[in-house]
């Protein structure tokens, strides 16, 4: 096999430097691996390009340094070689909407709580994280529930092996924690006052709150450097300004076609960035969503109904959005879909007419874009994080197993490890540390019992 030449070594050094300086590395976590690893001979699905039948992926310093044909891609001499012959390598999966970790966002005190952070309540030892790794997930958008118009700040979690929440956070170059803002409309957030009772009331409450944040910003700007004139710090207003200024993306739960378009209307009024989540009836308004270029993070479930807003959900939503040109990613909404079955979501979408390429992209790069993390994750390209999965076969085939999951060049799941295998298949103790939190479904389940 060819060895690592000078250019190859240079790439490794550059990648390692990037990892050490500008990118990530939250406090206490090195983020990177201690020696290079080469996955050799597998079918490589880079997502950004065609499949490489006998390919090699080299990772070093927590970054991908080379992706190419095994015949022409050099392997560094000090690299650990992993024979991937007969196997498939693809990027770690990106779940744009998860409730793993037992976290809670806002409480019952008000319908809009932009000051609340999910990161303050997540248990990183939750068995759900181990199941995510067993399912090939490497990045999650962990969200508070949909029982509020705005239930709090989400986090983008990197599924490193973790002792504290800090270990899984994504941060930008300035050390700012990365995450979104969870919002919802439709029936989930309607209840007794102070919550809204109708859709129009929901929109009015949200609009009023954003107008207040605009006023807050005006006062801040008017005060300039004059400390005496500055309004007092206000965590709610700061959260909303992050949204209004485009630093934080709104992840908006919405099912019904008119609710989806209400979100688009609010976005046009206030100019925030938004991803529509669940989007059960997006297929009915695919043209309007395409025109508005509003990305949709879609859930695929085995049957329609369960709530009135989900009665018209369709397995073909992915296919219809693809045809219309609407950016489409998938999510688990775990516990609605078990994270170990995330690949199946894309396969069902293909069953209903979506193209294979777009379905695989919807598990990876499309989701990365919706979290604005696509410069770092979502595809196998040099310079991106070394987040990848080793599969026993085609990702959309029933009997395919996730064999290994790697995050930043470190193996975080190995199906051959009996302890990891327990979380992959279940069994006695496989839910250790997992809470019974079922996000937005608790009340509904109680009512129907």
């Amino acid at each position: 096999m060819p060895v690592c030449d000078a250019r190859c070594r240079l790439r490794i050094v550059i990648a390692a430097c990037l990892a050490a300086t500008t990118l990530i590395a939250p406090a206490g976590v090195t983020g990177g691996q201690d020696h290079p690893v080469a996955f050799v001979g597998g079918r490589v699905l880079p997502i950004t390009g065609p499949a490489i039948e006998r390919g090699t992926v080299v990772v070093a310093g927590g970054k991908i340094v080379a992706v190419g044909s095994a015949a022409t891609t050099a392997v560094p001499p000090d690299a650990e070689r992993i024979d991937a012959t007969g196997k498939v390598i693809m990027p770690g999966l990106v779940d744009t909407h998860s409730h793993v970790g037992g976290g809670w966002g806002g409480d019952a005190s008000s319908p809009i709580q932009p000051d609340v952070r999910i990161l303050d309540s997540i248990n990183v030892r939750d068995a759900g994280f181990r199941k995510c790794r067993a399912g090939g997930l490497t990045t999650l958008n962990i969200m508070p529930g949909s029982g509020h118009l705005l239930s709090g700040q989400t986090i983008y979690a990197k599924l490193r092996k973790a002792d504290t929440i800090d270990d899984v956070l994504y941060r930008d170059a300035d050390g700012r924690i990365l995450g979104g803002m969870k919002m919802a409309n439709g029936t989930n957030s309607q209840k007794e006052p102070p919550f809204p009772g109708t859709r129009s009331k929901s929109a009015a409450l949200v609009r009023q709150k954003f107008l207040k944040a605009i006023d807050y910003r005006r006062k801040l700007e008017a005060a300039g450097d004059d400390a005496a004139k500055r309004p007092d710090r206000d965590l709610e207003m700061e959260g909303l300004l992050d949204v209004l200024d485009g630093r934080t993306i709104v992840h908006h739960h919405a099912h019904r076609a008119d609710d989806l378009l209400t979100v688009v209307r609010l976005r046009e009024e206030f100019g925030f960035k938004v991803v529509l989540h669940h989007a059960s009836e997006a297929w009915k308004v695919a043209g309007a969503l395409a025109k508005a270029q509003t990305p949709c993070s879609v859930i695929v479930v085995d049957a329609p109904g369960g709530k009135i807003e989900a009665m018209d959900m369709s397995l073909a939503t992915g296919a219809i959005l693809e045809q219309a040109g609407v950016p489409c990613a998938f999510h688990t909404d775990d516990p609605v879909t078990d994270s170990r079955l995330f690949l199946r979501t894309a396969a069902l979408a293909v069953r209903a007419g979506m193209s294979r390429d777009k379905a695989l992209e919807a598990l990876t790069l499309a989701g990365a874009k919706m979290l604005e993390l696509d410069r770092r994750i979502g595809s196998l390209e040099p310079g991106k994080d070394a987040d990848l999965i080793l599969l026993s076969g085609d990702p959309l085939a029933l009997r395919t197993k996730v064999l290994q999951t790697w995050v930043e060049g470190r193996k975080v799941f190995d199906r051959e490890d009996p302890d990891d295998r327990l979380f992959a298949v279940g069994g006695y103790g496989a839910s250790r540390d997992q809470t019974a939190h079922a996000c937005c479904t608790d009340n509904r389940m109680a009512e129907t019992r």
Partner: protein, 418 residues
């Protein structure tokens, strides 16, 4: 509608009535139908390559390789890559629960009393329910459906075909089993829940044993006759059928503790039971094996981390199979989204976790029919059985395969690729 009685002879009368209605439904004769499949899984023998299924008068007339079956001229012929028997969902609540998930279409559980075996599934079933059509589109032709887990004794179950405009037209067995729940899910909910019984596992078992004891006394006194005999009591009538082994208890249990409790009750009263769900059944293989009690296993994709099912495993079906314990798979009960699971999909996950294709198919066809006591009607493609067939454009379990057709009693009831 005739007045229904729980007298043992009445189910027979009901069955005759239903048979009459079924024939009435078929006033127009069912034209013969042939189905040619690249592979025909008969579930009554080895799969047949390039096979033909011939259906006449709604019943399987012949099944064999294409070379061996002469298709009568003029017979409509359907083609498929893979042909299976119509699928049997061994336990669901669909038809009592509806997709809207509002009070008006949720009849699977009356929470007002802990013990209500007199609640009949036939009095709640909606054959036009959208979820029935949804399951049928994925090849499911028979449902064992009825009252849900969630009360100590929630009511009766029944067996229907996924067709027909009335329950009379759909039903195969108007009363199949009596739905019992032990463990946490037997505890009542709602206001003042802590003041209601059963509040503990032991209390639930004591209450169930008490009902069976009282039913035994009821039977004894009724048989003795005379002025002292007790008045007719719907509840006692049902338990009398259980004691007489005419009806099995369908006992929904997940923890090994509760599985063992169910087996203990079965042994004490010498009654027939079927273990339902059984998340920890892999801890009880020897007891299940020695008692011969069958298991209708939870959906493969049932969520973990929700209390009693936290130790659930994708591999339990394979372990039951390896231990030689009769089992079937089911779509189960879902309280939210998705409102039902699909037996085909649940068996697929079992096939991906240790079962062969034929073994996983058996869990939703022949083995399911045997456990439900309807193997003389459905669950296999062999002469004399109902003409229920599912067609696929590939491996039925593969995610991207489609169910391309469904036939019930010789009639094509779905032709959409789904």
């Amino acid at each position: 509608m005739p007045r229904m009685s729980r007298h043992p002879a009445v189910p027979l009368a009901w069955a005759i009535l239903v048979a009459g209605l079924t024939m009435a439904r078929g006033d127009e004769p069912v034209p013969p139908l042939a189905i040619r499949g690249g592979v025909v899984h008969t579930m009554a023998g080895p799969a047949i390559a390039d096979g033909v299924v011939l259906i006449e008068d709604g019943k399987i007339k012949a099944v064999a390789s294409a070379a061996e079956v002469a298709i009568p001229p003029g017979t409509r012929v359907l083609q498929a890559a893979v042909v299976t028997p119509g699928l049997v969902d061994a336990h669901t609540v669909v038809g009592l629960t509806g997709w809207i998930n509002q009070p008006q279409d949720q009849d699977q559980l009356d929470p007002t009393e802990p013990v209500q075996p007199e609640l009949r599934a036939i009095d709640s079933y909606n054959p036009r329910e959208r979820l029935v059509e949804w399951l049928r589109g994925f090849g499911v032709t028979t449902l064992h459906t009825g009252h849900a887990p969630g009360a100590l004794v929630s009511g009766q179950t029944m067996i229907v075909k996924t067709t027909g405009d009335s329950v009379e037209a759909a039903v195969i067995r108007p009363t199949a089993m009596v739905a019992v729940t032990l463990g946490d899910d037997a505890r009542p909910g709602g206001p003042d829940a802590e003041k209601k019984s059963p509040g503990t596992r032991s209390k639930a078992v004591a209450m169930l044993r008490g009902e069976l004891v009282k039913a035994g006394e009821y039977v004894r006194r009724r048989a003795a006759g005379g002025d002292e005999q007790p008045d007719r009591d719907l509840r006692r009538d049902v338990f009398a059928d259980v004691l007489a082994r005419r009806l099995p208890l369908l006992v929904t249990v997940n923890r090994a503790t509760d599985i063992d409790a169910a087996l203990r009750i079965a042994a004490e009263f010498k009654i027939r039971i079927v273990i339902d769900s059984g998340a920890e059944a892999y801890l009880c293989l020897d007891r299940l094996k020695s008692t011969g009690v069958p298991v209708i296993l939870h959906p493969s994709m049932r969520r973990a981390g929700m209390g009693e099912t936290e130790n659930i495993s994708f591999e339990t079906a394979a372990k039951l199979r390896a231990a030689g314990i009769p089992f079937a798979l089911q779509s189960g009960f879902e309280g939210y989204v998705p409102k039902t699971r699909v037996a085909l999909f649940e068996a697929a996950i079992a096939a991906a976790n240790g079962l062969t294709t034929e073994q996983a198919l058996a869990a939703i066809t022949s083995d399911a029919a045997t456990i439900l006591g309807i193997a003389d009607r459905v669950g296999a493609i062999k002469p004399g059985l109902d003409g229920d067939v599912a067609l696929f454009d590939g491996d039925p379990f593969e995610y991207t395969t489609h169910c391309t057709g469904v036939v019930i009693d010789g009639r094509v009831v779905s032709g959409d690729a789904r």
